[in-house]
Assembly symmetry: C2
Homo-oligomer: 380 residues x 2
């Protein structure tokens, strides 16, 4: 292997080129390596380190062992899933240098690992027709700025200029941005795979930035690189929900949509679940499918109370009830009791919904699972 | 700062969420920090490390000093530019954990740092109208597969449905893929900035994958995660050039292009310079603008010789000479003499071209500079 690469580098002069900019052609270890018996081996060459482990998988770091050459490794059995992890070297969290697949969440990167089996088949890119993913800028008069969003169009969209499509508006949680559902949620990969299997209708998926104060993901605006500040704390003021008509107007005017309630869905996780909740309530004739994933269904920043202020708009929305109003949460989610309160409110008010309760908590593992369950229900 | 973030995490339960998936909200050091005096400070908290440095900037690592708290740092003066770097901890190359801005090149990641001033203003995202970037799949009958490419459409494209645009086909080097020009080359940012200043015509930029054996960037295909193999060595067989008509056919049928020679440009770096060279030669009536950046102008895998086999197609191309045939290379580039030979061949054959010679070598710093010089010359 090393011979091949070296030969390549010389023939193309890449060694020279990179040496000059020192991007460095790193000859990586195989890490992580999924073994034939479905165990996974992590490797890190760190001869001088005193302790090395894998962090992010499970609650405790997985310790690695050093061999005589200074190569640390550990082989462990992981259930099929998409994992995000990093390595701990003498207590310092680093990206696995051998794994270029990383996802950003707020101000940290983690490596991505897919252990085959089960739902992983939906999270891995397969040899199926692929949709397109666009980073576009839309005008939001309500928020007074041009804002960026990610738009998925299904395979065939470009080649069927007369076909119109339904739209799912898919919203991220606090700390996320217009990249979150595609990066951590694998939305476009999941859509490609479900559509290819005929399990989901071909649809357009619009992933806006739910932080009303932001124009785009960190590093994509004139504000430059990301430095944590108070912005995210101003993302649940209702402003974003009030601006949602701008997102729909852009989508319906720039894509071949079917612009009616029966062909619109809105779903989100955590804060985005709250956004989906309020937006669908405020626009009762707009969405026939609503998905609340681990949703922050806080009314006035607090819990949900059986008040006219809340039940009146809910009753308006349910006067022509959505075809699917889907609530999902994990047993260990810190928002479990909030969602329990909300379900009680819906029950006492006599408003119909479907409920899915999973293991686990407030995690992307659950949100990807929920998306897998929700998508096949749409636009049928 | 820490208080704000902590408050946020609790209010949104992000701490919980991340703890469960252990994406880990890392409270980053400020690294790198560009100081008011334009020096740059790099920081890394690594109490147990014995040596820490910054690598990738200049030929030698920049050593960092440890303070009593275990925080390593160094402040250095860097000329304005976009830099890619990493950190060396006891000899192990890692990504700066405080800097989420990374770019992939072949099988390694590097952090991105922009030091303001000079051309950096073009490399940094500014508050100007932004174009859209799409990852699309096109059919290549010639190569017998669907393949992925990156397409930039300028600001206003979506809102001016009747306007047609010229097209630049922009090709990466060996080891790159359809992401390289946008990630390491900052192409879409450079275009946004030049167009906003009226220095470049609004244009569509098509960035295909020049490795004919590949369908898409690593991790974007059913082949899964990237493992170095011999594929890149099979990228200069002429196959890709022969398939270029498929790329043009897709572009002209899916975007509002002006489909004639006067409104088509092709440019590339290194291997992509070779691809641009051969493709423009094979399609003499197709491109009025040709850019050869540090180009691998190898004929039959060797150098350039004054043979009929080479001069005949060149003369055909120049019978109706391109409006701009632009050759650029750095004095230290390992392809300098190859390009010198090629210029001599053009001179003796009496074929007109423009030549730009820069300092430095086979680097993205030069290729970004060349793009900045080349774009304003197009479609005028």
């Amino acid at each position: 292997m090393k011979r091949v690469i070296t030969a390549l580098m010389l023939s193309a002069g890449i060694a020279t080129g990179y040496a000059q900019e020192a991007l460095g052609f790193i000859m990586p270890e195989r890490s992580p390596e999924v073994n034939p018996d479905s165990t996974v081996t992590f490797r890190l060459r760190a001869p001088e380190a005193r302790s090395v482990g894998v962090t992010g998988i499970g609650m405790q770091p997985i310790p690695m062992e050093k061999d005589s050459t200074g190569l640390w490794s550990v082989t462990t059995r992981l259930r099929p899933d998409l994992y995000t992890y990093a390595m701990l070297v003498d207590g310092m969290r680093i990206i696995d240098p051998s794994n270029v697949y990383v996802a950003r969440d707020i101000a940290s990167l983690s490596n991505v690992l897919i252990v085959p089996g089960g739902n992983s088949a939906y999270y891995a890119v397969q040899d199926v027709p692929h949709g397109s993913v666009r980073k576009v800028w839309y005008d939001s008069p309500t928020l007074g700025k041009e804002r960026r969003m990610t738009v998925y169009t299904p395979a065939g969209y470009e080649n069927n200029p007369d076909r119109k499509y339904p739209v799912l508006y898919l919203l991220h949680g606090m700390g996320g941005d217009e990249d979150a559902w595609n990066e951590l949620g694998r939305a476009s990969v999941i859509l490609d795979n479900l559509i290819a299997q005929g399990k989901a209708e071909p649809m357009i998926v619009v992933m806006p930035n739910g932080n009303g104060e932001m124009t785009a993901a960190p590093g994509q605006t004139g504000e430059g690189m990301y430095v944590p500040d108070g912005k995210y704390s101003r993302s649940q003021t209702g402003k974003f929900e009030n601006s949602f008509k701008d997102i729909i107007a852009y989508t319906d005017s720039h894509y071949r949509t079917i612009p009616d309630k029966a062909h619109r869905a809105i779903a989100g996780l955590s804060m985005g679940g709250g956004h989906s909740w309020r937006t669908s309530m405020q626009m009762p004739d707009t969405f026939d499918y609503v998905g609340l994933f681990s949703a922050a269904v806080r009314w006035n920043g607090n819990g949900v109370e059986d008040t006219e202020e809340l039940t009146a708009p809910l009753k308006r929305q349910f006067a022509d009830a959505p075809r699917l109003y889907w609530i999902a949460i994990g047993k260990d989610d810190f928002l479990y009791s909030l969602n329990e309160d909300y379900r009680k409110l819906l029950d006492t008010t006599g408003l119909p919904y479907e409920y899915h309760e999973s293991e686990g908590g407030h995690t992307w593992t659950n949100w990807r699972d929920y998306l897998l369950l929700f998508l096949p229900r749409l636009f049928k």
